[in-house]
Each structure stands twice: as C-alpha cells, then as structure tokens.
C-alpha cells in the first residue's frame, strides 16, 4: 500500500514537472515568433524607406529638368 502511494506521488511529481517545462517552451516559442514578426516588419519599413528615397530623388530630378 505504502509503495503504491509513494509511486503515485512520484508519478504526479514527474508529470507536473514535464507540464511546467512544456509551458515554458511554449512561451519561449511565442516570443521567438513575435521577434521574427518584428524583424519582418522592420524589413518592410526598410523597403518603404528605399521607395520613398527613390521618389524623393525622382521629384528632384523632374524639377531640375524644367529649370
């Protein structure tokens, strides 16, 4: 009887440990995904900046043409 109680306690302890670990990993993965998303948004902003710079240069050039 005692053995049974001890074994069940041990298994409960192990299960709770593994659950806690998997929860932590899940949270880490979530953060990782967020960081990746931020990276891709930053790349998007870089592309927009390049396009805006190009437009700005083109405007300058166009006006120089008529002067």
């Amino acid at each position: 009887m005692k053995k049974l109680v001890i074994l069940s306690l041990l298994s409960i302890f192990m299960v709770s440990l593994s659950c806690r670990d998997s929860e932590k990993t899940k949270e880490e993965q979530e953060h990782e995904r967020t960081i990746q998303k931020i990276d891709s948004l930053e790349n998007e902003i870089d592309e927009i900046n390049q396009r805006v710079d190009q437009i700005s240069d083109d405007v300058e050039e166009t006006v120089e043409d008529i002067n």
Binding site: M14, I38, E42, S56, E60
Partner: protein, 182 residues
C-alpha cells in the same frame, strides 16, 4: 527491505531534481547565447538604419528629424527576459517607423515645392509667349517639358501615397504585436 525501497525512492527524487537543474541551466545558457546573438544582430541593423537616416538628414539639412535620435539601441540588455527583449525590439521598430513617417512628410513637402516650381515655370512661359521672347518652336518644346514634369510629379505623388498606406498597414501590424507583448 522497507528501508531500501524508501532510500531508493529518495535517491531517485534527488537524481531527478539534479537532472532537471542541470538541464534547465544548460537550456538557459543556450537561450541566453541565442538571445545575445539576436541582440547583436538587431543592434547592428538598428545602427545601420540610424547611420542611413543620419546621412539622409545631412543631405536634406532637416533639423526636425534630429529629434528621432534618442532611441534605446545601446541600452544594457545583459539579462533581459524574452518579454523584455520583445519589448526592446518593438521599441526599435517603432523608432524606425517614426523615422519613415518623417521621411514621407519630407518627400511630400518636396512634391509641394516642385508643384510651385512647375506653376512658376508655366507662368514664366506664358509671359514669354505674350512678350514674344521665344519662338513658337521653343515655346512648344518648353510647354511639353512642363507638361511631362507635371505628369511625373503626379505619378510620384500617387506612389508616395501608396507608400504611406503601406506604412500604415505595417504600423497596425506592429501595434497588434505590441498588444501581445505588453
């Protein structure tokens, strides 16, 4: 017999605890290493963006955009948690977004100035036509160039508007992420 069973159970508990501790510390080290690398990468990217923006500012001699220099790129981040790191990266992205918005406004002003210049050129041409300072051929040629410039500026204005909309979409997505982080 009972003593042996109890001892072995206690020993297995201890082993399990030790293993968990070791695994966690190893895991932590690896995570910190990865985070450190990500931080370096992010900082390099941010520094590059700041340099580029600085060059642009120098080129345009725009005093207003200098306010955007105060960002959190160089701050101490030795023991940041995943959440803190996410917030740090989101802050950097927000700074970049502000910079981009300033650039768009700058370009819009440039377009307005070019419209004025085109109008001035048109008026000057009209005057030349009245006072017969130019031949008909010269006037026609000049008229054509002004028309082309006007069309080009309109096209560029449309392109700038779509860039602005794209930036707004990006901003909305970034805000959604911020809600998740904060």
């Amino acid at each position: 017999m009972k003593k042996i069973v109890t001892m072995s159970i206690v020993a297995s508990f201890l082993m399990l605890g030790l293993n968990q501790g070791l695994a966690q510390s190893n895991n932590q080290e690896k995570k910190e290493e990865v985070r450190e690398k990500q931080m370096d990468k992010a900082d390099k990217k941010a520094d590059k963006a700041v340099d580029k923006a600085q060059k642009q500012r120098d080129k345009n001699k725009d005093k207003a955009s200098k306010e955007n220099q105060g960002n959190a790129y160089g701050k101490d981040k030795g023991d940041m948690t995943g959440r803190e790191f996410g917030q740090h990266r989101a802050e950097m992205a927000r700074n970049k977004l502000e910079e981009s918005r300033a650039r768009i406004n700058e370009t819009e002003e440039r377009i307005s100035r070019s419209r004025l210049q085109i109008n001035t050129a048109r008026e000057a041409l009209e005057e030349s036509r009245k006072e017969r300072k130019m031949t008909d051929e010269e006037i026609k040629e000049r008229e054509q160039r002004i028309l082309e410039a006007d069309q080009r500026v309109r096209e560029l204005e449309t392109a700038l508007n779509s860039s602005r909309e794209r930036l707004q979409r990006t901003e909305r997505e970034l805000m959604k992420l911020n809600i998740d982080i904060e």
